[in-house]
């Protein structure tokens, strides 16, 4: 319980710090927020009036407190570019992002863990080397490149899958695979090494001496022990997926949080960029918090101090 309380406080502090960082970073990066809102023919006087109305001429710290005050009272504000309600945008695009992210996260473990187990059981065989080479490739190829390659191959050449769009299952396949690639590769390696490490332990010999089958010893006991590092790194995988989603969503035209955030930053749509990046931070922090919980639940040595 103490641990959980600590973790929760830590989460709030991270959120506060990152909200300041994001707020300053966007405003200090230059650019003109009025460019997207007003037609190109607008005069400098028009632009100045709009800045005044939006409060963009106030000192940044003052803008921050005004913004946070509204945010905490539940007012997320409107987009500067099209005046849309940010709360509505988050729900709509958030849903898409969660679909894509969850699919990728599932792939990472559903594919990564069994492949890693297979490689460890068939250690130093052709199978092991094949899986390991694939996983090196998965880590080495940048995902934007993998995205382009997969669009070229599966959409242009073979014509099996659509190259972009939302939100049919067929359109989900490519972006989910690309988004999951690196995490899967890392999970394969992690699972393999965790399995091998536990396979060498003394208690494996004890279980074998008790007559248990290899399937039982490896599939249940060794796997159960290997699960601890796998779970504790699941938090990192969530962060990775959230980060990569920015790129993958843009390439595949998947209208998720990442795509909106990228556009908002490019257009200096401050309130949208501000809130969407906070949402991403919350997802990463929450993911880590969940992984901590899972780690706690999976490890009997930590359950009771």
């Amino acid at each position: 319980m103490r641990y959980l309380a600590n973790r929760t406080v830590y989460m709030v502090v991270i959120l506060a710090i990152s909200s300041v960082a994001v707020f300053y970073a966007i405003r200090l990066s230059g650019g003109d927020a009025t460019a997207a809102r007003l037609p190109a023919s607008a005069t400098e006087a028009d632009r100045e009036t709009l800045r005044e109305v939006l409060g963009l001429n106030d000192p940044i710290y003052q803008q921050y407190f005004t913004y946070m005050g509204r945010l905490l009272s539940g007012d997320l504000g409107n987009s500067l570019t099209n005046n849309a309600l940010i709360s509505k945008m988050v729900i709509e695009h958030g849903r898409n992002s969660i679909i894509l992210g969850a699919a990728a996260f599932l792939l990472v473990f559903v594919v990564g863990v069994p492949l890693g187990m297979l490689a460890s059981v068939r250690r130093n065989t052709f199978m092991d080397q094949g899986i390991m080479s694939l996983s090196v490739a998965g880590m080495a190829v940048p995902n934007f490149w993998l995205a382009l390659l997969s669009i070229w191959l599966f959409a242009s050449v073979l014509g099996w899958l659509p190259s972009a769009g939302c939100c049919e299952p067929r359109q989900l396949i490519l972006p989910a695979i690309v988004l999951a690639a690196e995490g899967t590769a890392l999970t394969v390696r992690m699972t393999r090494s965790a399995m091998l490490e536990n396979l060498d332990s003394d208690w494996v010999r004890t279980l074998r001496a008790g007559g248990l089958s290899e399937a039982r010893v490896i599939g249940k006991h060794v796997f159960r022990n290997a699960l601890i590092p796998i779970i504790s790194l699941a938090g990192l995988r969530i962060g990775q997926i959230v980060g990569y989603a920015l790129i993958v969503e843009v390439i595949f035209g998947w209208p998720g949080l990442g795509q909106v955030l990228v556009n908002a930053v490019l257009r200096r749509d401050y309130p949208v960029a501000q809130f969407f990046s906070l949402v991403l931070v919350v997802m990463v922090v929450l993911g880590n918090w969940l992984a901590d919980l899972g780690y706690l639940a999976a490890n009997p040595r930590l359950r009771k101090a």
């Binding site: 004890t206 279980l207 001496a209 008790g210 007559g211 248990l212 089958s213 022990n225 009997p300």
Partner: protein, 326 residues
């Protein structure tokens, strides 16, 4: 004597490193009888544990393999027994206790879970019956408060308690043969005596046959019926315990006995055997002990001595001399 329960014949086990195979157990033969303790002694690295693991069919594969010999148990030959059938023997007919109780129990599962899993692998009993059996086994090795322990995890138990759990696990299915590989080495001296005492009480009560692997000659002298001395993967001398300790014949056995500290009339430095056990890849031709032997003949360097039976003793030496008073 009665017919042996377990008979090991010419057992040879090899380990492969970097493509070359080395013999770590070389033509080992011994018999085990019901209601008897056979002590297996020797320095570290002389092949005691590998012999035990070979009998259990638990040698690390594929790095090691049994290259020859047989293990006869009842009317079965265990070396060639299919793994499926061997699994039924392990933990049920023949069990084994390992050296380090701290690392020998799966940390992720409760004691009760580990014990009942093994029970239910061998016996078709319900969960509650298995739990009752496990509880009985824990009580028999005098583990304090066994009901609580059943729900505890290995890390919540002390080293001595964990070794009691290991013993309970090895004994709960009433095996004919128990192999105890240095069961007390990793424990506190005060706990060692208690554990050994529990082990012996159970062995006597069940009339079980026990292979006690140790380098503690004091323990062997106190509890074993017969003793086999191993050196460099071979048995060099085997005899009933009183005979071996009163009249050791092999120079290696003599050296081991003289190296035991005596509390009475102890003068000067402790006796040591010069040199060390040769690693399996550098076993000298002839008698493997010859480079360290004070009474080696030219023949000992050239010819490999056989294990020769004589008056209930087996000896592998060309030039045995009576033990000179140290």
């Amino acid at each position: 004597m009665a017919t042996p329960l377990l008979s090991v014949r010419d057992l040879t086990t090899v380990i492969r490193t970097e493509g070359i195979e080395f013999e770590v157990v070389r033509g080992v033969s011994f018999d085990m009888y019901p209601n008897e303790i056979l002590g297996l002694v020797g320095e570290s690295g002389c092949g005691k544990t590998m012999t035990a693991l070979s009998v259990m069919g638990l040698i690390p594969s594929p790095a090691a393999r049994i290259a020859g010999g047989e293990v006869l148990f009842r009317d079965r030959e265990l070396v060639s027994l299919p793994e499926r059938e061997m699994r039924e023997v392990r933990g049920d007919d023949i069990s084994m206790i390992f050296q380090d109780p701290l690392t020998s129990l799966d940390p992720m599962f409760s004691i009760g879970h580990l014990l009942t899993e093994v029970i239910r692998h061998h016996r078709s009993v319900s969960r509650s019956e298995a739990e009752a059996m496990a509880l009985r086994a824990l009580a028999e090795v005098e583990l304090p408060d066994p009901e609580t322990r059943m729900n505890q995890y290995p890390h919540q138990l002390s080293g001595g308690m964990r070794q009691r759990v290991m013993i309970a696990m090895a004994l709960m299915l009433d095996p004919d043969i128990l192999i105890a590989d240095e069961p007390t080495t990793a424990l506190d001296v005060t706990v060692q005596a208690q554990i050994l005492d529990r082990l012996l009480a159970q062995q006597r009560r069940r009339g079980m046959s026990m292979l006690l692997i140790t380098h503690d000659l004091g323990v062997v002298a106190a509890v074993a019926d017969r003793v086999a001395v191993m050196y460099s993967g071979e048995i060099v001398e085997q005899a009933p315990v009183t005979q071996l300790f009163s009249d050791p014949q092999h120079p290696y056995t003599q050296g081991l006995l003289r190296a035991v500290p005596q509390t009475r009339h102890q003068r000067g430095a402790l006796h040591t055997i010069p040199g060390r056990v040769p690693p399996p890849q550098f076993v000298p031709p002839g008698c493997p002990f010859s480079p360290r032997c004070s009474q080696a003949l030219v023949r000992c360097w050239e010819e490999h001595p056989e294990l020769v039976p004589e008056n209930g003793r087996h000896l592998r030496c060309f030039n045995p001399q009576p033990l000179s008073p140290a």
